[in-house]
Symmetry: C2
Subunit: 695 residues, 2 copies
C-alpha cells in the first residue's frame, strides 16, 4: 500500500476550525464532506462545541478518541501556527487550507508548521490550498463546488482558484475525476509525491498537472520516467514570461532561461506540455475517454467540404497522417457514398447527409482495420436531421469502441445540444475542429513511449579534474583559465588538441615545435576577457621565427592595452583546419540542476538561437534525438552532396560533458565554443568553465 493511501482514502477526518455558519469555509468543507457521501468518521472541531449538520462538534482535538488519518486546518494563520503541534499529535496527514504563509512572505510561519508536523511524524499538504477530493472513499474535502463526478482523471493544481474553477469546469464538461489535489505552497508534500501516489492508483488513467515552478525537477522527471505504461500526464506549466531573470555569465546560461529548459526536460521524458487551459482540458478528456490508436492512419468524415479542408490543414499542422490509400478508401466508402460525395480523405458525404449516411460511413471506418483513428465532422444546418445525427454518432461509437473517434459539431443551438449529449455519453465531442485535431494529436503523443537509452560507464581522469578544481577553489577563482578548462575536458576524454602554457620565448618556440605548425597563441589572463580585441591572439603561426615574434607581440600588446592585467602566460595550440563550428555547453538550472546544450556555432547560436537542451546526464540514444532537433541539423548531415560530419563524435562529446558536470557538481557553467566537427572527429578549439567557489 502506498504511504499516501490514508490521505486519499482516509478512515477518519477532523476539521479544525469547522464553522456553524453557512458560507464560511469552515462550514463548506464539512458540508462537502457530508454531501460527497463520505463513509468514514467525521470530527468537526470548534471550541464552541454544539453540532454542525447533525455532527457532534469536538471542543478540542484531544477530545477525539483516535488518531485521525487526515486533519484539515481552516483557522487563521496565526491560530494555525499556535495549534499545529497539537494537531500533529493527533493526525497522520494535515491539510492546511489556511493562507497567509510564504505566498505573502510569512516564511517563518510556514516553516513552523512543517517542523511541528514532522516532529510528530505527520505530513502536510499546503498551506494555502483548497483541499482534496478523492473518488475512492469518496470524499470531497474542499471548499469548492459540492458536485463532483467520479472518473479516471486526476487534477493536481498549484493554483487554488484555478483548481476550484476546474472542479466546476469538469462538471460542466462531464469529465469524471479520480482525484483533485491542491498543492498550494508545497511546504512539505509536492507534486512529486502526489504523482507517485496517482501513478499507482488503479482509478487514475490520466493526470492533469498545473504548476508554475518546480523546486525538485530531477525527482519530478524520475517519477514521470517510472510511471506505468497505462498512465498519462499532461502538464500546464505557466510562468513562461518570468524567465531569464537570473544573472548568467556563459552563453549556455543566457540561452537557457528557465522555460527553454522546462520545454526540453519535458520533451526528454515524454511529457506533453499544454500551451493553455482549454487545450489541456480537451486533451485530458480525450485521453481519458479514448483507446490508444493502433496505427497512424487518420480518416476525416464530413458533410461539409470547408470543414473537411480546415480539419486537413489542422492535421498537417499537428503532424497527423491522413490515410491516403485510395484503393482502401474506395473499397471502404464507395458504396455508401451519396451522389456528389467523395471517398478521398477527407471523406465528404455531402451536405445532404443525414443520420443514415453518417451511420453507414462511420461503421465502415470503424470496421476497416487500416483506419486507426476517426475525425467525424458535422456542419449543423439547423434542421430536423439533428436528432438522427446524434443517435447515429452515439450508436456507432458505442458499438465499436476499439479505436479513437472524435466528433466535431459546428453550428448553433443544435450543435451545442449534440455536443452535450455526446459528452454525457462519454464521447469526445468538440465545437471547434482545431480542438478535436489537437486532442487527437495529444492522444497519439501520450501513447508514444519514450526510451531515453542507458547510461554507459566511461573513463575519466577524475583525480586530475579534482586537482584543478580544488586549486581554483582554494585561490577563490570562479572562472577557470582556458588551459585549466581544456585540461579538465581532456581528462574527461574529450578530444582537445595538444596545448601548452608557456612563460617565455624559448618555451613558446619549443611548444610550437612539439605541436607542429601552424599553431595559435593566446594570452592567458583572468583579467582579459576579449583577447582578440587587445591583440592577445595570433593565428596561423607557420614557423619558429613567427612563433618567437608572436610571443613577444602578444606580451607587448597586452602590457600596452591592459597594463594592469596579471598575465599567467601564453597558450600555444594547434591551428585547427576548417570544419563545422558547433557549441556544446552545460549550465546549472534552478529547477533541474545540470543541463547540457548543443547548437551550431557563430551566427546560428547568436542570431538564430538554434540550440537545444537536455537534463544531464543523458544517454547517447537521447543525445542523438537532441542533435537532430536543431533546425540547422542538415548542415551536419550534409547538404548539396556534401558528406555528413562526424555526428557520433558530437554525441560522444555531449555525453562526456553530461557525465562530467554530473560527477563534478562544482562545475556551474561550461562552454565548448567552438567544437570543430570534421568528417571524422571533432576537436575543442576553445573552452570556458566556471565553478562554485564558497557558498
Amino acid at each position: 500500500m502506498h504511504y499516501l493511501e490514508p490521505l486519499f482514502n482516509p478512515e477518519s477526518v477532523a476539521i479544525v476550525g469547522a464553522s456553524h455558519h453557512e458560507g464560511k469555509i469552515g462550514h463548506t468543507v464539512v458540508k462537502n464532506i457530508v454531501e460527497s457521501g463520505y463513509k468514514g468518521r467525521i470530527y468537526p472541531v470548534n471550541p464552541k462545541g454544539g453540532e454542525i449538520l447533525g455532527l457532534k462538534v469536538y471542543k478540542n482535538i484531544f477530545e477525539i478518541e483516535e488518531k485521525v488519518d487526515v486533519a484539515i486546518i481552516v483557522v487563521p494563520a496565526k491560530v494555525a501556527e499556535n495549534i499545529i503541534e497539537d494537531v500533529a499529535k493527533k493526525a497522520r496527514y494535515i491539510i492546511v487550507i489556511t493562507s497567509g504563509f510564504s505566498e505573502v512572505g510569512n516564511i517563518e510561519g510556514e516553516k513552523k508548521i512543517v517542523e511541528a508536523a514532522r516532529k510528530h511524524g505527520a505530513r502536510v499538504l499546503g498551506p494555502n490550498v483548497f483541499g482534496i477530493y478523492s473518488a475512492k472513499p469518496p470524499i470531497n474535502a474542499t471548499f469548492g463546488p459540492s458536485k463532483i463526478k467520479a472518473g479516471n482523471v486526476a487534477v493536481v493544481s498549484q493554483s487554488g482558484a484555478l483548481g476550484i474553477a476546474m472542479i466546476g469546469k469538469a462538471a460542466e464538461e462531464n469529465m469524471g475525476l479520480s482525484a483533485i489535489v491542491s498543492i498550494g505552497n508545497k511546504a512539505d508534500l509536492t507534486e512529486v509525491e502526489i504523482l507517485s501516489y496517482l501513478f499507482q492508483d488503479d482509478s487514475t488513467r490520466v493526470v492533469f498537472l498545473y504548476i508554475e515552478g518546480l523546486e525538485n525537477g530531477r525527482e519530478f522527471l524520475d517519477i514521470i520516467r517510472k510511471r506505468p505504461p497505462n498512465k498519462s500526464i499532461i502538464v500546464l506549466k505557466a510562468g513562461r514570461s518570468k524567465a531569464g531573470a537570473r544573472a548568467v555569465a556563459s552563453h549556455t546560461g543566457s540561452l537557457a532561461g528557465s522555460d527553454a529548459v522546462f520545454d526540453a526536460a519535458f520533451r526528454q521524458v515524454g511529457i506533453l506540455r499544454a500551451d493553455g487551459l482549454e487545450d489541456g482540458l480537451n486533451w485530458v478528456t480525450t485521453i481519458a475517454l479514448s483507446p490508444p490508436p493502433k496505427g497512424k492512419n487518420v480518416v476525416i468524415v464530413t458533410n461539409g467540404g470547408g470543414l473537411g479542408v480546415i480539419a486537413a490543414d489542422a492535421c498537417e499542422k499537428y503532424g497527423l497522417h491522413l490515410f491516403d490509400d485510395m484503393e482502401v478508401l474506395r473499397k471502404t466508402f464507395q458504396d455508401v457514398m451519396p451522389e456528389f460525395g467523395s471517398y478521398k480523405n477527407p471523406v465528404d458525404i455531402t451536405g445532404q447527409a443525414g443520420g443514415k449516411e453518417y451511420k453507414a460511413a462511420l461503421e465502415r471506418a470503424f470496421k476497416e482495420p487500416n483506419i486507426h483513428a476517426i475525425l467525424a465532422l458535422y456542419c449543423d444546418r439547423g434542421d430536423a436531421e439533428l436528432e438522427d445525427i446524434k443517435n447515429a454518432f452515439i450508436e456507432v461509437h458505442k458499438k465499436y469502441g476499439d479505436k479513437p473517434a472524435l466528433y466535431t459539431i459546428f453550428g448553433g443551438e443544435g450543435a451545442t445540444s449534440i455536443i452535450t449529449a455526446l459528452k454525457r455519453e462519454g464521447i469526445p465531442a468538440f465545437s471547434d475542429v482545431e480542438d478535436a485535431v489537437s486532442s487527437l494529436y495529444a492522444l497519439y503523443k501520450v501513447n508514444e513511449r519514450k526510451d531515453e537509452g542507458e547510461l554507459e560507464e566511461i573513463e575519466m581522469d577524475e583525480e586530475r579534474i579534482r586537482k584543478i578544481i580544488e586549486r581554483a577553489i582554494k585561490e577563490g577563482r570562479r572562472k577557470l583559465l582556458a588551459h585549466e578548462a581544456k585540461a579538465i575536458l581532456q581528462a574527461a576524454g574529450v578530444d582537445v588538441p595538444p596545448f601548452y602554457l608557456v612563460r617565455n620565448i624559448e618555451e613558446a618556440v619549443e611548444a610550437a615545435n612539439k605541436i607542429g605548425y601552424p599553431v595559435v597563441m593566446k594570452v592567458v589572463s583572468e583579467d582579459i576577457i576579449h583577447k582578440t580585441d587587445v591583440g592577445g591572439v595570433v593565428l596561423n603561426i607557420e614557423n619558429e621565427k613567427e612563433a618567437a615574434e608572436a610571443y613577444e607581440a602578444i606580451i607587448e600588446n597586452c602590457k600596452r592595452n591592459v597594463p594592469k592585467a596579471r598575465i599567467v602566460g601564453i597558450e600555444v595550440t594547434k591551428m585547427l583546419p576548417k570544419g563545422v563550428e558547433t557549441i556544446i555547453g552545460a549550465t546549472t538550472d534552478a529547477s533541474f540542476g545540470k543541463v547540457v546544450m548543443f547548437g551550431l556555432g557563430g551566427i546560428y547560436v547568436e542570431v538564430m538561437k538554434d540550440v537545444t537542451f537536455r537534463v544531464a546526464p543523458v544517454a547517447k540514444k537521447e543525445i542523438r534525438r537532441m542533435v537532430r532537433e536543431i533546425e540547422s541539423y542538415p548542415i551536419l548531415a550534409g547538404v548539396r552532396g556534401e558528406k555528413s560530419k562526424d555526428i557520433e563524435a558530437i554525441i560522444d562529446t555531449i555525453y562526456r560533458i553530461g557525465m562530467l558536470v554530473t560527477k563534478f557538481e562544482e562545475i556551474l557553467e561550461l562552454d565548448i565554443n567552438p567544437l570543430i566537427v570534421y568528417e571524422k572527429g571533432a576537436k575543442v578549439a576553445d573552452a570556458r568553465m566556471s565553478i562554485k567557489v564558497g557558498k
Copy 2:
C-alpha cells in the same frame, strides 16, 4: 449607390423552383424570406401554380409583371441550364443555389449559366450556394436557419455547409450579422465585388471571409487596400496542405508554395489571417463589439493568481504589452485592493473578491487614462457570488464603454451562465483566457493601418530587355542563358559587374584584361546545368596565362564530360570579394501573379528556408519591412560589433526586380543567387531567368 445594392437590398425577389412541400429547399427559401419580415414583393415560381405560405405561385417567370431585382434558382442543374435565359431576361441578379456544376466537373453547364445571364445584363451569384441574408431589407433568402440577428458583422463564405453552420453559430454566440453571403463556385460574382459592396455598407463594421483559393488575388488585395479606415476584415484561408503541387524549376518558385505567398500577401496589405474557425469567430465578435484601443497598455484584473499567470504568458506570446508603470498601478489600484492582493500587473484582487471588489478595480482601470485595454478574469468558485460578479461586469462595462474590455470566466455551470449573460449584453466574453488574449491581439492588429509606401518611377533600358526576351521567344528557349539574364538585370539598373561572352582564347584574355584580375570563367550552355560538376567553372584567375589556360580547360572538360552539349561560349566576369550572400527572386503565383522573394543565400535559404515574399510591384517602404522579416536579418544589420551591410542596396535591387517582372510579364521566374552584399553596395554574382514561350 453601389451597383450591388439591388442584390443586398432588393425590392422584389422571385424563387424559381419554389416548392409546396415543407422540408424541400425550394420551400425553406420562401419560408425564410417570409419569416425574416421581408417587405418587398415575393414571387414564388412553379409550373404547378397554387399558393405557398399564402403567396400566389407564378407558373412561369414571364407571368411576373416586373423585372425583379433578384431571382433565386433552386431547380436541378439540368433544368437550371434550360431556363437560365428566361430568368436572365426577367432579373437583375440571379442566385443559383443549385449545385452539380463545376464542383463536380460540369464546367460546361456553369459556363452556359454565366453566358446566358451576361447576355441579358444579369449577374450571377453561385452556383452551389446557400443564398444570401441581408439585414437592411431585412431578407433571409437562404435555406439555412431562419433566425438571424441583425448586427454589424458580414460573413462571406466559399463553403456552403460551413456558411450555414456559421448562421447557427452566430445566433448561438449572439453575434449580429449585417449580411451573410455564400459565394460557392464564384462563376461570376467573386469575393472581390462582394467586399467592394460590404466595405461601403454603413451597417457593416467587420467582414469574416472564408475562402479556399483566390483566382484574382490582385484585385482582392486592391479592394482590401481601398477599404475605409473603420472597416476591418478577418480572413480564414483554408487549404494550406494542398500547396506545392505545381511543378516549379527555380528556387523562388519551389519555396513559394501557394500558402507562403498567401501569408505574405495578406501581411502586405494588413489582412489578419485566422488560423482556425474558433479564433476567427472570436476575433470578429470582439472587433464588432469593441472600440479601438487608444494605446498599448494592457491590464489584467484577476481573482486567481494562476489564471493571471496564464494570461500574462499568453500576452507575451501574442506580443501584447502588459502595463508595468508601478507608480500608476499603485495609485490606480492600491486603495481598492483587498488584503493579500497585489496591484502589480496582473492585478490580483484575490480569491475572496466579490462583485464589490471587481466593480471597484474595474472602475479604476476604466478611469485611468494610461490603461488602454482591460482583460478581466474570473475563476468561478461555484458559490453565490456569481450573480454579483455578473452584475459588476455588466454595470461597469456599460458605464465606461470607451476602451476595450474582454472578460474571461473560467469554471462550471455558473461560468457558462455569466458568459451567456455578457454575450447577450453585447460584451466580449470567453471561457478560455487564451481566446480572450488572442482576440485582444486581433483587435490591436486590425486597428494598425498599414502604409505600404508609394511606387517611384525608375529608369530601365526597356528596349534592350525586350530584345533579349524576344529573341529567346523566337528561338523557343524557355530558360535564358546566364549572360542574357545578367544583361536584363543590368538594363533594369541592377548592379551587375562587367561580364563578357567569349568564344575563343583571344577574346577570353582580352575580356579578362578589360575586367581586371582576378576573374571567373563559366561555360555558357543550355545543356549544362551543374557547371561546376563537369569542370565548367574556373575561379580566381589571376593573370593572362591563367586566363588562357582556364579557357582551354573549360572547353576540354565540357567536351569530355558532356560531349553532346551545345556550348554557346564562355562567360568572363569579375571574381567578387566576399560579402554576405543573399538571394533575390521572383516567381509567378497562380493567385497573385508576380511575387518577389528575399532571403540570405546558401544554407539559410536551403536549410533554414528563411525567406520572405511580397506581391510585386512593391514600394520601398514595404520592402524595408520585408527585409527585416527574415530571421537572419541581424546578420545584415551587423552582429558582434560588425558594421551593417548595405541594406538600401538590397531594397533597391528588390524594388527593381519587382518593377522588372511587373513590366515584363513574360518573365516567369528569376533568381539572383547570390546577390553579394557589402558595407557599400550589392552585386549580382549569378542569375537565372525563365520566360513564357508560347501559350
